[in-house]
């Protein structure tokens, strides 16, 4: 069995003191900050005794401030690293990449994997074309193969994928280099799709680069990742942080700006303390195939969904399994040329969150499992907290309101005990304000630090549209995030609640292309939130008039959620802000070569819709579909009768009368398809 570390690589030589010092610095900062905030809040609450309500508030605040402090200090350390460029490990990686003599060995083969599931084939294949062309320009394309691993169930999309794939291979001259397969049984979703690749073709490849359907990676970056792996034989996975690109709605442009401007701080900070125990983000990462095969066969968790069954957020678990086996996992935050796309609207963003939420909450069971590296446990906990923090914030806000109400009902008693004169109550407003602004500072300072980095770097400054525009963009983004945060809090609370009630979701494909949110959709998704906002506003205005204005920032977002969701989904507004030079990213200002290739490929899309009917009627589509079907199986008599029944149903009532599963069954049988093909043609004579 392949157990790492394999041999003494240069990562192996680093002394463990470096690890210990960095983690000690980070954890100390986080704990001291939490402790400081707790002492302040405790001193404010302790007056008049600690009620159960106050204790509960303290407990909740402790969890939340720990979470915020962790994020804040990661960003601050990231700021320091990016400012000084003082990072021993990143310097070592840069040295490997700078060494031109360090070429790829002839025997190394790399598979680029693109798992897809009912995505828009035009988008998918434009991305593949762009990456392949970019790779060809490096002169190293001969070392790579590309696999489009389809789990698509819908037959129309399946047939389109096949036709697009073949057309692309012919155009690129990549037959035998870019492969397509549609999995018969899509068990275990994406992780099952990857596992199927590893089990069937893994022996041919030393590395695999896992992508997502909306991933784009520059050829040069792909080659660099391989070189990093070659230089570090104890490393099983290197994650390249993807930057969001290509979306044009206002919502997505704001997020693209935020991720591009602030993201590097957080990734550099995460890398600072996570080091070789980093995490896998599910895509845009290179993986050493042998240890992955040996250690990442995912089990089913006992019990039923949503907490049992298949592991949904497989990436965290795979990284933890690799670490458990002694392999390193790195986040190479300095790698550029790695991209992804964001959901175009607030509602799509929330829908994606719904799936991620279930996967992350499932990790609650894994945190305490035996054998994990402590940092892997932290990854699980952070994933859980990224969703659990929303209901915790909501409870905290509600309890704060309740506590304020209780306080307002108290009649002050100035004469008690043996005091001759009145005893004035001690005011702790200052402490409470300090805690409040302290928390806000930790939330917003990273944005300022990012802005400072942009200001200090001439190239960056220009790339973000100049100091003024970058600052205005950051300000507007901050306002937008203040409004959106409570909306997302309500969404996530709903998701967590649904999952705790054991309501599972399926595996819906994502709506990735730009589109506007209709009033109907906005009302159906935000209607209840708006009503809750109105109720909370009225109640706080009547019962807590002194505190009402403190709640306004939270209430505004919720009350405005419908127009906010609709307006931010506008492509037109996205274009207007772009024309004004707002929310610009370096990738928008000067398109990198792989994105230009992608634009060209998208512009060349021939929108002749191919459907299942083509595989029945068009000799070319049918021949292609038949050529790609796996070898004929031996079917039982019952299965044969079932297929025949489906065929006659299609003949008599039309293809549309078949369910997705029935259609798929029919289109998986070569004999039935041939018979239908002849029948379709014969009907043309009538």
């Amino acid at each position: 069995m392949n157990r790492g570390p394999l041999q003494a690589g240069w990562y192996q030589k680093l002394d463990s003191t470096r690890y210990a010092i960095r983690r000690a610095i980070y954890l100390l900062l986080v704990w001291l900050t939490t402790l400081g905030a707790m002492v302040l809040l405790h001193s404010a609450y302790a007056s008049g005794g600690l009620s159960i309500l106050k204790l509960l508030l303290l407990f909740l605040y402790a969890i939340l401030i720990l979470w915020i402090a962790g994020s804040f200090w990661a960003a601050t350390l990231g700021f320091w690293v990016l400012l000084t460029r003082f990072d021993y490990f990143a310097s070592r990686r840069r040295a490997v990449l700078a060494d031109d003599t360090n070429t790829l060995p002839v025997d190394v083969r790399i598979a680029i994997l693109m798992p897809i599931y009912s995505e828009d084939p035009d988008r998918v294949f434009a991305g593949v074309r762009a990456m392949w062309r970019s790779l060809e320009k490096t002169g190293k394309a001969g070392t790579f193969d590309l696999f489009i691993l389809s789990d698509t169930r819908d037959v129309d999309t399946w047939v389109r994928e096949e036709c697009e794939w073949y057309r692309m291979c012919t155009e690129l001259g990549a037959q035998g280099r870019i492969f397509y397969r549609n999995r018969k049984d899509n068990s275990a979703r994406k992780s099952g799709n990857i596992a199927d690749f590893v089990q069937r073709w893994g022996a041919d490849y030393r590395y695999m680069i896992v992508l997502d359907a909306d991933s784009l990676m520059a050829g040069d970056t792909l080659v660099k990742m391989v070189r990093l792996m070659e230089a570090n034989p104890d490393t099983a996975l290197v994650q390249a942080p993807p930057l969001p690109v290509n979306r044009e709605t206002l919502f997505a442009r704001i997020l693209q700006f935020a991720s591009t401007a602030y993201g590097p701080l957080f990734t550099a900070g995460a890398s600072f303390w996570q080091l070789g125990d980093s995490n896998f983000w599910g895509h845009n990462a290179i993986i050493r195939v042998a240890p992955f095969a040996a250690h990442c066969g995912l089990p089913q968790l006992p019990g039923r969904e949503p907490f049992g069954g298949e592991i949904l957020s497989h990436d965290f678990v795979e990284a933890a399994l690799l670490r458990r086996a002694g392999w390193r996992v790195w986040l190479a935050y300095e790698l550029r040329g790695s991209y992804e796309e964001l959901p175009p609207t607030l509602i799509d963003f929330a829908k994606r969150d719904r799936r991620w939420c279930q996967g992350n909450l499932q990790h609650l069971r894994l945190i305490g499992a035996k054998g994990w590296h402590p940092v892997s446990r932290l990854h699980f906990a952070m994933g859980v907290m990224s969703y659990l923090s929303s209901p915790l914030w909501l409870i905290f806000l509600l309890l704060t309101g309740l506590e304020a109400y209780v306080q307002s009902q108290d009649v002050p008693d100035y004469f008690f005990g043996n005091h001759l004169g009145p005893v004035w109550p001690t005011s702790f407003t200052v402490e409470l304000k300090v805690v409040f602004f302290f928390t806000l500072a930790m939330l917003f300072l990273p944005k300022l630090m990012s802005l400072l980095l942009i200001v200090l770097d001439k190239t960056q400054r220009r790339a973000f549209g100049g100091i003024f525009r970058a600052a205005v963009s950051a300000l507007l983004e901050t306002l937008f995030s203040i409004l959106v945060a409570p909306v997302l809090m309500l969404f996530q609370t709903k998701f967590v609640w649904a999952i705790l009630l054991r309501r599972t979701i399926g595996w819906p494909s994502q709506q990735r292309a730009d589109h506007s949110t209709s009033i109907r959709e906005a009302v159906s998704m935000h209607g209840v939130q708006t009503l809750l906002g109105v109720a909370a506003g009225v109640l706080s205005y009547i019962y807590l008039p002194d505190y009402f204005w403190w709640f306004v920032p939270v209430l505004s977002g919720v009350l405005l959620s419908i127009p906010l969701s609709m307006l931010s989904s506008s492509v037109h507004l996205g274009h207007i802000t772009r024309d004004l030079g707002l929310f610009m990213t370096p990738e928008e200002r000067k398109r990198p070569e792989v994105l230009l290739e992608f634009d060209q490929a998208m512009a060349a899309v021939q929108s002749r819709p191919v459907s299942a009917h083509d595989a029945l009627h068009e000799p070319h589509s049918q021949a292609l579909h038949l050529a790609l079907l796996p070898p004929d199986e031996l079917f039982s008599r019952r299965q044969q009768h079932y297929a025949q029944g489906l065929m006659y149903k299609a003949m008599e009532e039309g293809l549309h009368s078949l369910s997705t599963a029935e259609k798929r069954e029919l289109f998986s049988r070569a004999d039935s398809l041939r018979e239908l093909h002849d029948w379709v043609w014969s009907t043309a004579a009538e």
Binding site: Y166, R181, Q199, R200, H620
Partner: protein, 163 residues
Amino acid sequence: MNTPGADLTWQSKAQPVLDSYLRKVGIASPDIRARWVAHVLYQIQMHIEKYAADDIVEQAVERLRGAIDTRLARIANLDPLRERSEVAGVLVVLQDEKHADLVHTLFEDCEGPVDPRLREQLRSAVAADLPRPVRQDARVEMPVQTIELRSINPLRRLLRALR
């Protein structure tokens, strides 16, 4: 049974369908198409008693498709029955416009002997453009890992004992 022998209109129905099919397959020459149509219609006529009038055109299409597959299989040295998906792959390759001349030559004849040079041309076309869905299997074992979840049973037992 309503036999088609008495009524030859089936030929006039089948003829344009077969012609259209051959055009879709990529045979541009009307002469060659007419030759293939005639070949298929003749074969059907030879065994006309076997067919019901209702599905005679379907039978004609099936025969035509079978004839095309057999021709391609012969030239490509494939078994037309056991290697049907490979034959389908060859058909896909030939439908690229750049192989129009080759298609013309391949289908010039319905059943005649195969010129070895033709076989070579087809082989090189297939080598370049055959749709290869996947590489040959190169299997790796991927053992399912054990994740030992910590049971909360001790906690449950404790709570029960306290009760």
